[in-house]
Point group: C2
Chain length 383, copies 2
Amino acid sequence: MDSGMNEKTTAELEHLRGLIDGVDQQLLHLLRKRLDLVAQVGTVKHGAGLPIYAPQREAAMLAKRREEAKNMGIAPQLIEDILRRLMRESYLNEKDVGFKQVKKDLGSVVIVGGKGQLGGLFSQMLTLSGYQVNLLDKDDWQQADSLFADAGMVLVTVPIAITCELIREKLTQLPADCILADLTSIKTEPVKAMLEAHSGPVVGFHPMFGPDVGSLAKQVVVVCHGRSPEKYQWLLEQIAIWGARIVEAEPERHDSAMQLVQAMRHFSTFVYGLNLCKEEADIDTLLQFSSPIYRLELAMVGRLFAQSPELYADIIFAQQDSQHAIGDYLDNYREALELLKRGDRNEFIKQFQSVAKWFGDFAPQFQRESRIMLQSVNDMKTN
Amino acid sequence: MDSGMNEKTTAELEHLRGLIDGVDQQLLHLLRKRLDLVAQVGTVKHGAGLPIYAPQREAAMLAKRREEAKNMGIAPQLIEDILRRLMRESYLNEKDVGFKQVKKDLGSVVIVGGKGQLGGLFSQMLTLSGYQVNLLDKDDWQQADSLFADAGMVLVTVPIAITCELIREKLTQLPADCILADLTSIKTEPVKAMLEAHSGPVVGFHPMFGPDVGSLAKQVVVVCHGRSPEKYQWLLEQIAIWGARIVEAEPERHDSAMQLVQAMRHFSTFVYGLNLCKEEADIDTLLQFSSPIYRLELAMVGRLFAQSPELYADIIFAQQDSQHAIGDYLDNYREALELLKRGDRNEFIKQFQSVAKWFGDFAPQFQRESRIMLQSVNDMKTN
């Protein structure tokens, strides 16, 4: 009985696994039932024009379930994680129902650059909400005049490098009431260009997510007001109905944050990949020796290089000022390397402690958050 | 009926939410039942000394469930994610049952540095497996001789900077049959020191995870063989029973990989935090403007500073050679910054493409993996 499988062990395990299979069947039926009920909630909300994501209701429901779980000797975090995963699925399914159309008399929407990924996503969301959407791509400019003639909104989503030029040259003859909006990831220059080109309502957006999200639920959309906000208030409501959270910002403040959040971060990730390549690192070996945290970090680097080089060049080269942030990082890196070369462990620890102090309560908060993420990464391992 | 809540909407939503509550009650009961059944599987496995993590059985079970889900119109990924989360919970619960003791006649285990976090984790796992464990910390050396006298294994887990010195000075008089092992995150020097200090069985380990993992299931433990592997084969089996995967490596190859995986990565994360601090970035603002990917990256930086500066100093300063890898990164960063300053977008794209080519199939694989992770991050958002 002491080592390995024998007949009795095999039989016992088989019996228990049969029972687990039975529980899993019931689980699948329950999931089906819950998805259907939430879809019905979606239909009712759709009719009433309510947003699909209701943070307070969600928090209250989760708190109740956590309490019930605790009373049954189940870890509260377990039921919370499972329900959050289920909610994601329901958000995805919202698309099948469609969304309430906030503005009934808009006329058509023209998406300039609509055949790009982000343009495609907005085209889909607008169509699902009952709007008539026309795509205008670089080869279709001969149709532009007729499309613009009855446009209620023109949405620009072309590469950053050509955004302002395109706005200034091609979008000066829009109908007076037409809303001019863009989705560029920097905001100062595009909003300025739109205000100059068009005398009607103007608004700039920056959707803070990649085009591969399945749903806009809980995603952030930054809005920079241009002119006549009362004319596009419905659009903010529409985006909220899709589940996203609207964050208002001054274009300059947004762009300055983006130097750190986007340009510098993407740049150092690019250099990290470049460095691995030049060092001729063996990715297989690195993965073999990887802790969950390093695997996650390597995946974040690798994902960059699965995407469009032009897109990242656009983001990194977009703002002249990003060079300062990127240059500062280089200086700090060089100084820290000097510490290392001198073997000055004490100074390293001193600097570490002052950064930790600066992070304050965010450091333990980030540690808790990342622990949950790392556990998810570990869950996914298959060998 | 067109905008916002009215009485009928409220009543409909309340009714549906009541039904969802009912489904969730059933869900909780099912979870309780499944956890209990898996605990019974654990007890049977415990008796037979089988590992708690069985990759093939797990893969087969998931494939079956995915198929069943598909037939019910449920996304296969949904049931897979939920079951993986449940399996994690069951691994955590394994601890309540304890683990099979592979080696019955070992004598006691002495953990040198046993009051540290990693020492504490191994002490717990060994105790749960029926071994008698004694902790020896820096203030207990007067007891050392009596503890070593009947030790079947001495496990060293003290800061890297003092590991080799401690081994050479304090561990030269162990019983001839005693296994000498360590948990240091570099391996060449410690294994060499152990072989010199002790003539009996010697083995080096590097657990590739933080001490805050709840369970060893699916975690990686690197093993570097020292001397007389047949004498500690049982220990590798014991670690496998805890659920971990053993990866064998030459000490030099391991240490060389660690320069990239640990030293350089931690160093650049340190500089990233230092840089944010010096730029006086406003974390609240950064978070407000964060996409899920940046929030994840910021959390990975912040978590470093919630931990011990000494631990990271140890890792970064441990290997002289790490300076080369760290210095190379600096050179690559500087060159890339020159590109940016020259505005040489074409060369950036060219280099990007050659790194992408070097990543090969790993790039899209990492993109898929990270997409799943980012979705989990988004699930966790509460506002």
